[in-house]
Symmetry: D2
Subunit: 358 residues, 4 copies
């Protein structure tokens, strides 16, 4: 369903081609400073880029409907709304009986029947991530008060993989300044080319978002089941197109030996730390004081310009489909903001549940 979180609870609503999209964020501490400017800045980072993305210009202006007074949270539920621009929805009608490969058309129609709003993907649209980004900005403000920072970047776009470690400051500063959300100038150029090449072919590419969270105290996470990893993974897999989530060494750990994978404990600045971070900042489902290291795999955009095989659900016969219009050849740069928001929301909720906030 459309609600997630325990103490900080997010409910999202809306569709791509209806009135708009929005969210209700419940549980933010009364008195918290709410900056609409900050929310707008994050929403702008999620917007499609002219250069590499689609020329559809979304005017994502956030409108607060409740819970904010004099730029502060009142303690009541915070509602944020983002209006949709007028859109041409006619071209989507066909998808109700000729499902687009890689999209939720088939599963949505099977689950919700003919009442499903298929325009723009309806409630399965990537546009549903805009309110997540808006709410995530508030969550960021909450955790920044206890010194937690969250920063993501495009770690891979198609075959271009960034294998370097970057200082957190570079991720935040350089990464937010370029439209592919690369962490270095070299990567920015190569990733941009990878995207433009796919675009030129009428195709799309996937990629990996890496997200680092620094400053988290030891003890965040509520095992056995409400682990730090599990709560993060649950919301991350709700982001459209996510196919894999790993922490620290992740799948690489499977090929390791214990002597190699175990992170030795050391004393650093008078505090317990580990000399490396293959655990990704988590032990036993609980933060261990090292930076969280999260990697999220995105499949390539399902909407491509090439004609594809599908079936006609009316005749139950093979059919061909060609998706008109312009679509992002790569959603990864835009997804960086969404991953950051999802991580911030989860950390804020778990910090509240563990008594680290409030």
């Amino acid at each position: 369903m459309n609600t997630i979180g325990v103490k900080l609870r997010l409910t999202i609503f809306g569709t791509s081609h209806g009135e708009g999209v929005g969210c209700v964020l419940d549980g933010a501490p009364p008195g918290l400073a709410i900056s609409l400017k900050d929310i707008q800045r994050e929403l702008d980072l999620r917007k499609p880029s002219v250069g590499i993305g689609t020329p559809r210009m979304e005017e994502d202006v956030v409108i607060p409907l409740s819970g904010v007074k004099d730029s502060r949270a009142t303690g009541g539920a915070i509602t944020l709304f983002i209006k949709n621009a007028d859109k041409d929805s006619d071209k989507y009608k066909e998808f109700a009986f000729k499902p687009r490969p890689g999209h939720a058309d088939l599963t949505a129609v099977m689950k919700y029947g003919d009442a499903h709003d298929i325009r723009g993907g309806g409630q399965f649209s990537g546009r549903m991530t805009a309110p997540i980004v808006a709410a995530g900005t508030i969550a960021r403000a909450m955790i920044s008060q206890i010194g937690v920072g969250v920063g993501g970047y495009s770690m891979a776009i198609g075959s271009v993989v960034d294998k370097e470690e970057h200082p957190f400051g570079d991720i935040v500063h350089f990464g937010r300044g370029n439209e592919v959300r690369a962490a270095s100038e070299d990567m920015e150029g190569r990733m941009r080319k990878e995207i433009l090449d796919a675009k030129a072919d009428g195709d799309s590419v996937g990629g990996i978002v890496r997200c680092i969270a620094t400053g988290l105290p030891i003890g965040v996470g509520e095992p056995f089941f409400d682990t730090l990893e599990g709560e993060l993974a649950k919301i991350l897999f709700a982001i459209p197109a996510v196919k894999g989530v790993e922490f620290g060494a992740g799948f690489r750990a499977a090929a390791m030996r214990g002597s190699q994978n175990n992170d030795p404990f050391v004393i650093s600045d008078g505090r317990v730390a580990t000399s490396k971070n293959d655990s990704g900042g988590m032990l036993g489902g609980i933060s261990d004081g090292m930076p969280l290291d999260i990697k999220v795999a995105f499949k390539p955009t399902a909407s491509i310009a090439m004609e594809q095989d599908t079936v006609d659900l009316r005749s139950m016969k093979p059919a061909r489909i060609k998706i008109e219009g312009r679509h992002d050849p790569c959603i990864v740069p835009r997804a960086v903001s969404v991953v950051e928001a999802a991580v911030a929301l989860t950390l804020a909720d778990l910090c509240m549940r563990g008594g680290f906030i409030d």
Copy 2:
């Protein structure tokens, strides 16, 4: 916390060295056949193997405390209990101030203080997965009634990776008959060797469990947030030592182009299917009728015989630790049953939530 699920709700309790471990499973349909023999068989598959595992012989005999009468679920909460054998707990005392690398000793002590039961890892012990396996057997019975089968195998052990596709029948039949839970005779030999080599070195290895679920109807999963992927990932990351979860092409999808990754729809046996399954059986957070394809990365066992670097929390100085006793050089074969159980529990719950069961 220790409860998961909405309509089928699992609560686990216990510790490695206390009275025992157990679970309460709430919501199983009244009248469901409950076979203690089946539960016992699954628990036996989770037990350490003499050949490749540790010689600790756990007598995991399941005792039903409630909810079962005349081998049927009554509709009340089902409680299953598994007694612990007497164990030597003295050697664990040291870990409260000299945390074992890769273990939850540090994070548990920081979160729960000196009341934490550190014996055998306490509530963070891998032994907590025994009641998950027991409950999972009941979930399997539930979903098998609507034709869903769940089968897992060791897809990778250390550097040995099984890249072949195996018929579901082979996975279930061959895989359950060998103690490394390999899907082929060739793999069985090579994986066994990989484990024994690590053991001979006083070391451990990680691996990957792959789990397939067949027969799932279209429509299972409750987006936006309670997706099939997300609910599976949440419980899978609760299994100790899991570092990554992916579906279908997973992280490989990140390097693909859309034209390559999209699964074309086809008509097969008069029903809609896809001609390949890079989506792993899910579109938009909902099952699409193809087999679920789940991969779970396990890090190598943290307990190794080699001496390791740690810190002494009393003096806050570097220290060395040597973990006595015998430990599984590889938990992956045992984890196969746990992954299967976790998948079965999640599918049963989501099938109930979606109205496919009951």
Copy 3:
């Protein structure tokens, strides 16, 4: 927090004097007919009446923001918004340090601090019940499809108590046609006088709302803890000013003997029924097929024209307070719609949880 329900989940937001109030209703079956006209009619029943209420004219026009397309539920979250009219909020500032007796001023300020939006009572305002009524109309449509009807009336206003049993049709038809929501003409006159007398004295009166639900199948309710009674009581006590909830004989049952209180089972129209209904339609937390009989006690409106004793939180000294403006001398007639909505929402959710709907 601001969300309630499991399968049909309601989130409310807003404040009395902010942008507006609204709700997100998640889980309504896709395809369900949604009539804005019906919602508006229910909202109008909740509005203050010119004759007996306050002359404040609230323009409660419902605006759908999501989840409805072509007058049908899409399967996505349904968002309804009701704008606030401009209001004079200045007079409320004083209440932050001179709390009004019987109001939530003190507790809200202690819990939420100076960020609490005290204008109009903020998130504690009776106006928060408007979105509950709006959502309740959708819940009514859901349960009416399985033959369940919900009807309430003013059973007591101050000292005027309606001790008669009324046919369900009278409750619905007569009760909705008079502004005190009385179930008979006699009661209408006497209750109106009771309210006007209190009003003339600058005072207020309380009362009892009785709500009947007919046509509920046997089996609704999820014991042990999610009982029909318990789920109803939880949402009913969320309605401002509710001080008591009872079912069937309720508190009268405490003075009865078992031979008198037990409802004998009989065969009626070929089905099992009871010859009387002191149980109020519930046995063991589960509906028994008889009409639900719910009584809800409301305290008198806390805002009265008379000067009252309070304290000044700044000086921590005794103080006097006089509440300006016009307030409902009795909220019971308006509360009938709210109780009906709360009952409908709870029944719809429990019917979904029990598999009676969908």
Copy 4:
């Protein structure tokens, strides 16, 4: 279902005539002192009394299965188990097709089918309250650490109503020392007679439990929906035989005027208080610092010795039923402990949610 609570989460299991009854209490703070002696003492207060109750002697000995080590909570889930004595279950078989008036036989059989364990009422048995009392003792220990005390007494037994106000100390000390749980010697005698009279007639009586909670800080309760009243009412209505719940003036408030019902604020001992407590310690769903005043109406025991009308579900014809064996002529004295436990559990959970504990 069988779980309640958010931060302090109780799951109960078992049946009257199976292996036993028990509970899992999750979330108790690590390090909390757990006294099995205290738990046993509370369980003993819930046991039937020889003098006025049934001569069935239940040996309710609590066995801790997890979560307690060296008399302290470890931070893991606490499991408590109470074995059932051998019982004659044969006489219950008839109730599956000849439901006892006032019991859950009919509704349980309709909901759970023939798998329902009807012996002793199965999961609907009053015996399910034993683990609630056990868990409640732990909750009491939690809230007593912040100065909260909970005390209940029999306020009414049948027609005998105790209209006096009693000092909290009297309730706790005198009330726990007499088997009718009366608050005064006079009431003890009259209530005992009322019970014995009913017993002599082969009948039963109902009554009212009043429960007071002192020392609660201002701010406990999570509106809009998770109010102090609503959370209390939800668990109280789960107690078998409860038909009404009210707070403060309760149903009396319905007949009051606002000038009479509003509790004026005063300064008392340098703190804000109210000069009377018709609100019952709650304003806007939040504790206001005054004692909580809770009244719970219990219907008379449904099992009576007299022959009663019922139906035969096999023939769908009228039938007569005579319930053999001895049953409590009044459960109210035993229910006092259960109400206290339910209140303590709810307050402990809400205090954790509000940050007042831990």
